[in-house]
Every structure is written in structure tokens, then in C-alpha cells.
């Protein structure tokens, strides 16, 4: 089983997974667990899963990927599926799986930018709301 493990790399705030082999069902399940474990160990804020080498995604792999994304987001990490092949995308939609709610990016660069932007926005939003609170408080003070 050790040889079957798909490597998960850490890069700053994010994790990078590149699936280079045809996934059988148990491998997909293992990968799901490994990713979640690494998220919680490293407190990563995002995961890029590169599937550009995958020649097919059936309902099992599709569901496992979508589930992993949902599970990761409960651990406060966003998952982005990167580099899906056109033939795979067409087949998945015809199969009836649109992976709604799963974020996608055309390549690793775009995926990384997307994660960074979301991370910035998050801190920015927090800062905004704190500032708002302060200014409201200031307004209250001035009214007094």
C-alpha cells in the first residue's frame, strides 16, 4: 500500500497533490484521508489537486473528489481541482456529475492565484469588519 500513496507537497500556506496514475477506488479513499490528515497537521488553507494526467473520472472518483472538497472546507481549507482534460469534463457532465460547489482552475498557476486571492480576501474581510466595528464605536463616542 505504501507504494500506492500519492505524494502531498506543502508550499507555504497550501498543499499540492498531483495524481499521476489511474486511480483505483481504494487509492482514491486513501488519498482523501491523507489530504484531510495533512490539512489538519499543517493547518494549510488550500489544496491544489492536479488531475491533468487522469484519463477518466468516473462517478466514484468524482464523488470522492467532491466529498474531499466539502470535508476540507469544514477543516477551513479550500480545494481546487486543476487541469481537468476536456474529454474528462465532457464525459463527467454526460454522466450527470457537474461537481457543483467544487472549485476548478485551468492550470496550477491560476489555481494558486485563486487560493491566494481567497486567502487575502479572507483577511481583508476580517480587517474590514473590525475597522467597521471600530468606526461604529467611534461614531457612538462622538454622539455622546
Amino acid at each position: 500500500m505504501e507504494t500506492d500513496a500519492i505524494p502531498i507537497l506543502k508550499l507555504k500556506d497550501f498543499l499540492i497533490v498531483s495524481i499521476q496514475t489511474d486511480l483505483h477506488d481504494r487509492m482514491a479513499e486513501h488519498l482523501q484521508y491523507d489530504i484531510l490528515k495533512r490539512i489538519s497537521q499543517t493547518e494549510a488553507k488550500g489544496v491544489l489537486i492536479d488531475i491533468s494526467a487522469l484519463e477518466m473520472v468516473d462517478s466514484f472518483i468524482g464523488r470522492t473528489l467532491a466529498d474531499t472538497a466539502r470535508m476540507a472546507s469544514t477543516l477551513d481549507a479550500e480545494i481546487i481541482i486543476v487541469g481537468m482534460q476536456p474529454a474528462v469534463a465532457i464525459t463527467l457532465v454526460e454522466l450527470g456529475l457537474s461537481l457543483g460547489g467544487v472549485q476548478t482552475a485551468i492550470n496550477l498557476d491560476e489555481g494558486y492565484d485563486l487560493l491566494e486571492k481567497q486567502l487575502e480576501n479572507r483577511y481583508f474581510d476580517d480587517a474590514e469588519s473590525e475597522k467597521d466595528d471600530q468606526s461604529e464605536a467611534a461614531d457612538d463616542n462622538s454622539a455622546d
Partner: protein
């Protein structure tokens, strides 16, 4: 009495051979060879001669007819090939994928969208997106005369597969009557970005790419 009996005998004498000849001719015709004829000796004409002559005429007519019919079939096949070629030409002509800007593709849809065409369109669009690594795709349906639930379904599938690839998709050029039918048919377009026209679509695309168009002062 004696003479008539004699002629009947003569007929019978030849009968086996002549029937054999008829069988051979018919077998040849059944095999597609209409060139052979039953040999007829007019001087010795009898009851069977008219039958033999009739068979000869029928087979020769049949041969002509088969030649004609083959010719017609060839012509028909030629026409079918022409139609097939024209259909391919039309399909190619009507589905240009335009690179509007860096990372922005436009697909102006013209004509009706059936399953076959929409599958081909989606395939070439997705291939182009992957090739150019585009981020935004504008599907302009100004040239689509009617959007029924089947066409809407095709559009939804195209949009869904573009999204899976990691690109964004906006549908533009929805005419008022198309908007009416979409709502009347109860087609659910939530989750699909729609805008009135192509220039709005382009503005949207620039916005997604964090770009702005500024008028010079």
C-alpha cells in the same frame, strides 16, 4: 391426327434440352448476368417458342432496368456524399471560436443546436480553452433562432463542462422572445451567468481578469 402427334413428339424430344436452357438463363439472371439469351429457331416455332421469346425480352428489359437503377443509386450516393461534405463545411463555418483577448474566447452560436452539433461544439470549445489556457468564455446565442428545453439543456451542459475545466462562462445575446420562452418552459438557468449582449460580455470578461477599460481624457 398422325401429323399432329408427330409434331408433339418433336416438341417433347427437344423439351428437356430447352427447359434446361431456360433454367440456365434464369439462373444466370438471378446471379446478375442478363447478357445470355435462349437460342430460338424461328423456323421450328411451336408453343414453347413464345414463352422463350417472352423470357428473353423480360430478361433483356430487366438487365436494362438494373443498369438504370444502379446508375440512379450511384447518383444518389454522390448526392448524399455531397450533402455530407456540405454539412461538414456548414458545421465548420458556423462554429468559429474567436480569441477575443488574451485568455478570452468567444463562441458565436449560429443556427439550431442538436445533440450531435452541440457535442462537437463543446468538444472543440473545450479543446481550444485547454490549448489557449483561457479563463473566460463568452457563448453568444444571438444567432440561435429558438431556445427550447433541449437547446437550453445543451447550453447548460456546455457551461458545466467549461466550468469543470476551470474556466468561467457567460451566455450573451439572449433576445427578449428567447427570454420569454426560457421562462415559459421553466428552464432553470440559475448558476449560468447571462448578459444581454456581447459587449456586456466582454466587459464582464475584463472584470473577471481584473482589467478595466479607461477612456482617455
Amino acid at each position: 391426327m398422325a401429323e399432329s402427334k408427330k409434331s408433339q413428339n418433336k416438341d417433347i424430344n427437344n423439351l428437356d434440352k430447352r427447359i434446361e436452357a431456360i433454367e440456365e438463363i434464369l439462373a444466370a439472371a438471378a446471379g446478375g448476368d442478363f447478357s445470355a439469351e435462349i437460342p430460338i429457331v424461328m423456323e421450328e416455332a411451336d408453343v414453347l417458342t413464345s414463352v422463350e421469346t417472352g423470357i428473353n425480352i423480360l430478361i433483356s428489359d430487366l438487365g436494362d432496368e438494373v443498369v438504370q437503377s444502379n446508375k440512379r443509386a450511384d447518383q444518389l450516393q454522390e448526392k448524399l456524399d455531397l450533402i455530407k461534405k456540405q454539412r461538414q463545411a456548414i458545421e465548420e463555418l458556423s462554429t468559429p471560436i474567436i480569441k477575443m483577448w488574451d485568455k478570452v474566447l468567444v463562441l458565436p452560436l449560429i443556427g439550431t443546436l442538436d445533440t450531435r452539433r452541440s457535442q462537437k461544439l463543446t468538444e472543440s470549445l473545450l479543446t481550444e480553452i485547454a490549448l489557449t489556457q483561457s479563463k473566460v468564455t463568452i457563448l453568444d446565442i444571438t444567432g440561435v433562432p429558438t431556445v427550447d428545453s433541449a437547446v437550453a439543456n445543451h447550453l447548460l451542459k456546455t457551461v458545466a463542462s467549461v466550468k469543470l475545466l476551470g474556466a468561467e462562462c457567460v451566455v450573451t445575446g439572449i433576445r427578449p422572445e428567447v427570454a420569454q420562452t426560457i421562462v415559459h418552459l421553466g428552464v432553470d438557468l440559475t448558476g449560468v451567468e447571462t448578459l444581454s449582449n456581447l459587449s456586456e460580455g466582454l466587459k464582464w470578461a475584463f472584470n473577471r481578469l481584473n482589467m478595466r477599460i479607461v477612456e482617455e481624457e
